[in-house]
Symmetry: C2
Subunit: 423 residues, 2 copies
C-alpha cells in the first residue's frame, strides 16, 4: 500500500516527550524518577475511599445510580457541590451566577477538558498564547491539533504583562490577531516552574486581552488551569480569574479533584462561558457522553461528608514534610550547581543551571543522571516551539510527588553526583 | 463582537438528537422512557462491586495503585485479562499474536475509542461507510468532525454485501474511494435494529474492502463495534472479524465492560492494528493520558475472580425475562400496527410501521405517545444523511434496558393507545 490511511492529525501527533521517561522507570526498577507528575502514594485516601464506597454501594437507592450512566455534563449533585466548593475558594456567595452549577461541566480529569476546550475554540493554524515554559501535555494537544503557540515570559508572580502586550501587538501588526483564541495560564504552582499568578496579573491580563479583541474581531479567552490550586501547603489562596469584575464571559476555569483527592479517580471540572459551554458539552457527548458515574458519586460523597476537606489537611502536611526533605537534599547536593525557589504548593521544584549549562535529553548531565539511576524532566520539554526566542535548555523539573522521602534524598544525591561530574 | 471565537468543529457540532428526550424524561417523572440506552438497574452488580472494591482498598499494596495514575494505554493486568477474555470469546488460544495485550488499549467506554479511532483515521470530508440505520451517537461524531457517511443496507444477518459492493463501486467511479477510510459495523445486536452480522458476512465484507484498497491507495479498515456482544441471552456467540484469516491488520475491534458489567464503570477497550494503535495511544495521551485507574483495577478483579462471568449469568436471566414481558406486551398492544423480531441480545426491539406511517419527532404518533407519557427513539434519528436514498421514517427503537417490567408493560400499552389513535 502506498499511502497510510491515517488522518493529518494522527500523522502529526508526536510521541509525548515524557513517555519514554515513564517506560524507563518501569523497565529499570532501581531508577528513581523525579520526572513523573504522580502524587504521593502513602497519603492517598485509601480508608476514606473505602468507607465512602462502602456506604454508597450499601443500598440500591444510592448504589444503583452510581453504577448506571449519568448525564453528559455530569451528576447534578456533584455539579452543585463542586460549584459551591469553588465559590467558597473564591470567597463568593454560593448563589452568585458565576458559580451556578449550570455553568459547570465534569470531565475525566481536567486534561479532557483542556482537550475539548481547545477543540471547541481552535482551528488548525490558530494561535494559543502560553506561558514560557508551560505544561508540556498541553503543548502536546496544540502540536497534535496543528495550532501555533506564542510564548509569553513569566515572572515570579506570573505572566510578564509587558511581554504579553508586546506579543499581542506584534500579532496585531502581522494581522494574525484574528487567529488568537486564548491565553493559557497554569495559574497556581505552575507546572513546571511552581510560579503562582497574582490576582492583579490575572486582572491585567484579562484587560489586555479585551483591549485586543476589537482587532481580533472575536473574544479572546483566558483559560485558567487551576489543577494545582488545592495543593497549596503554605500561604493564602488567591481568587481565580472568575472573580475579576466584568470578566466572567471571558474566563474558562478548569480544575480537578484528581490531584488533591486521588489521581486514580479521574474527575476534573470547569466553569465555562456560553457559547463555549454548550459546544464543549456537545463535544463531550461525542467523546464519551459523560464521566464515569461511580467516580462522580464517590466524589460527591467525599465533598458532602467533609472527607475531602479532611484529606486535604493530611495531604498538605505530607507535602510540607516532603518539600522539607527535598529542599534539604537539594541544599546539600545541588547548591553549587543550581538555583531554585521553595514552592508553596504543587508538586515541583524548578532548578536552574548557570548560563550555558545544559539539562536536555541529550546533555551530558541527563545522560550521567540516567546512568546514575535518576531521571528528571528536562526544562526544554516544557517550552513551546516559538521562533521568536531561543528555547532554553538549562532547567530541570524535579517532582517530589511520587518518590518516597528516602528516594527523594537518594535521587537528589545521585543528581548531585551527576552534576558534579558533568557541570 | 462580530464573530464567535468557536472553531469550525464547534460551530458544526449539533445537539445530540436524543438529548431532549433525556431532558424530557428528567422533567416529567411520570414519563416512561423506552428511548434511553441505559441498562437494567436491579441487576447492576452492587454486591459484587462493593465486595471487590472492599478487597481492593483493604491494603496499601493493592489500594494505592488503584488510587494513583496508571499508564496511557491502560493497566497492564487488565490489558492482559481483557485480551485473554476476548481470545476466549473468539475460541482462540491466549498466546495468539492477534490477542496480544500489546495490541489492546483501554478507554473511558468504547465511545471514547470510537471517537479517537475516527480522529486518527479521518480528515474532514473523508467518507465512512455505515450501516443503514446505525448507532446515532456515532453519527454525531461524523457530523461534528465534518465527515461524510455513505449508508449500506442491512439484512437480517448483517450488511447487504451486494449493496456494499455497489456503494464501493460508485465511489470508485466518482474518484472518491481515496476518501473512504472504513466500514463501521455494530456487529452484535446492532443498535438500533438488533441485527447480528454473520461471520460469513464479516469475512466477505473484509474481502470486498480489500478488493477496493488498490484504487483507494490505502488500507480500508473494518471498525467492528462489539459493544453488545456480551449481552447475548440466547443462541451461540459468533467469532469476531479478528478471526478472519489474514485480516488482522485491517480489523479495529472495539468493545466494552460498561454494558455487561456496569454502565457507571466506564471502561471500554479495543484491539487495533499498527500504525493505528500507536496513533490512538498518542491521541489518548492528549485526551486524558489514561483511563481512571480505580475503574480498571475494579474490572481486573471482577475478571480475575470470576465475578464478571457470574454477573453475566444473572444479567442474561434478567434480560430473557424482560424481553419476554416486552414481547408479550408488544404482542398484545402493537401487533395490529407494527412488525418486529424477537432479539437474541442487546437492549432493543426494532418495530416497523406499515409503509407510509411515520414515527419521527414531528409525527402524530410521536406527539400522541408523548402526550400519553411514553417516548421512544424515532428510527429516522438512526439514519445518516445520504442523498442517495430517502431517509426512512417509519420505525421505532424500543429499549427494554432501563424500564422496570411494570413500566415496560405500561409503556407499551400507552404506545399501543397512541398507535391506535394515530395510525
Amino acid at each position: 500500500m502506498k499511502r497510510t490511511a491515517l488522518s493529518v492529525l494522527a500523522r502529526r501527533t508526536a510521541q509525548p516527550p515524557i513517555s519514554w521517561l515513564m517506560q524507563m522507570a518501569l523497565a529499570r526498577p532501581k531508577l528513581i524518577s523525579l520526572a513523573a507528575g504522580f502524587t504521593d502514594n502513602p497519603s492517598l485516601p485509601l480508608r476514606a475511599t473505602r468507607r465512602l464506597l462502602n456506604n454508597l454501594l450499601a443500598s440500591a437507592e444510592t448504589g444503583q445510580p452510581a453504577l448506571q450512566y449519568g448525564a453528559t455534563a455530569g451528576d447534578p449533585e456533584l455539579r452543585q457541590l463542586t460549584a459551591a466548593h469553588l465559590a467558597r475558594q473564591d470567597g463568593a456567595q454560593t448563589g452568585v451566577a458565576t458559580y451556578s452549577p449550570d455553568r459547570l461541566i465534569l470531565t475525566h480529569g481536567s486534561q479532557q477538558l483542556l482537550y475539548m476546550v481547545t477543540e471547541a475554540l481552535c482551528d488548525e493554524g490558530d494561535i494559543v498564547l502560553v506561558e514560557d515554559p508551560t505544561y508540556f501535555v498541553y503543548l502536546g494537544i496544540t502540536q497534535s491539533r496543528g495550532l501555533r503557540c506564542r510564548s509569553v515570559r513569566i515572572e515570579p508572580d506570573g505572566v510578564d504583562l509587558a511581554h504579553l502586550e508586546q506579543v499581542l501587538e506584534s500579532l496585531k501588526k502581522r494581522g494574525e490577531l484574528r487567529r488568537v483564541k486564548m491565553l493559557y495560564l497554569v495559574s497556581y504552582f505552575q507546572n513546571p516552574t511552581g510560579v503562582t499568578t497574582s490576582f492583579a496579573k490575572k486582572k491585567a491580563a484579562l484587560a489586555l486581552l479585551r483591549k485586543y479583541e476589537r482587532a481580533a474581531g472575536h473574544p479572546i479567552y483566558l483559560l485558567e488551569d487551576a489543577a494545582y490550586r488545592e495543593l497549596r501547603f503554605r500561604g493564602e489562596d488567591i481568587p481565580s480569574a472568575l472573580t475579576v469584575r466584568g470578566a466572567v464571559d471571558r474566563v474558562i476555569y478548569t480544575s480537578t479533584f484528581s490531584k488533591p483527592f486521588a489521581t486514580g479517580v479521574r474527575v476534573g471540572y470547569g466553569v465555562l462561558p456560553e457559547p463555549l459551554l454548550m459546544a464543549v458539552t456537545r463535544i463531550k457527548g461525542n467523546h464519551d457522553f459523560g464521566t464515569a458515574h461511580l467516580l462522580q458519586r464517590l466524589l460527591a460523597r467525599a465533598l458532602a461528608t467533609g472527607e475531602y476537606d479532611r484529606h486535604l489537611i493530611t495531604l498538605h502536611r505530607r507535602y510540607v514534610a516532603k518539600t522539607k526533605v527535598m529542599a534539604e537534599a537539594m541544599q546539600e547536593h545541588l547548591f553549587k550547581h543550581a538555583e531554585w525557589e521553595m514552592p508553596d504548593g504543587g508538586l515541583y521544584f524548578w532548578a536552574r543551571l548557570p548560563r550555558g549549562r545544559r539539562s536536555g535529553l541529550k546533555s551530558k548531565l541527563f545522560q550521567s543522571a540516567l546512568a546514575n539511576d535518576v531521571v528528571y524532566v528536562p526544562g526544554a520539554l516544557c517550552y513551546c516551539d516559538d521562533a521568536t526566542r531561543r528555547k532554553p535548555d538549562s532547567e530541570l523539573r524535579l517532582s517530589f510527588g511520587a518518590a518516597s522521602e528516602a528516594n527523594l534524598r537518594s535521587g537528589i544525591a545521585r543528581l548531585g553526583q551527576a552534576m558534579a561530574k558533568t557541570l
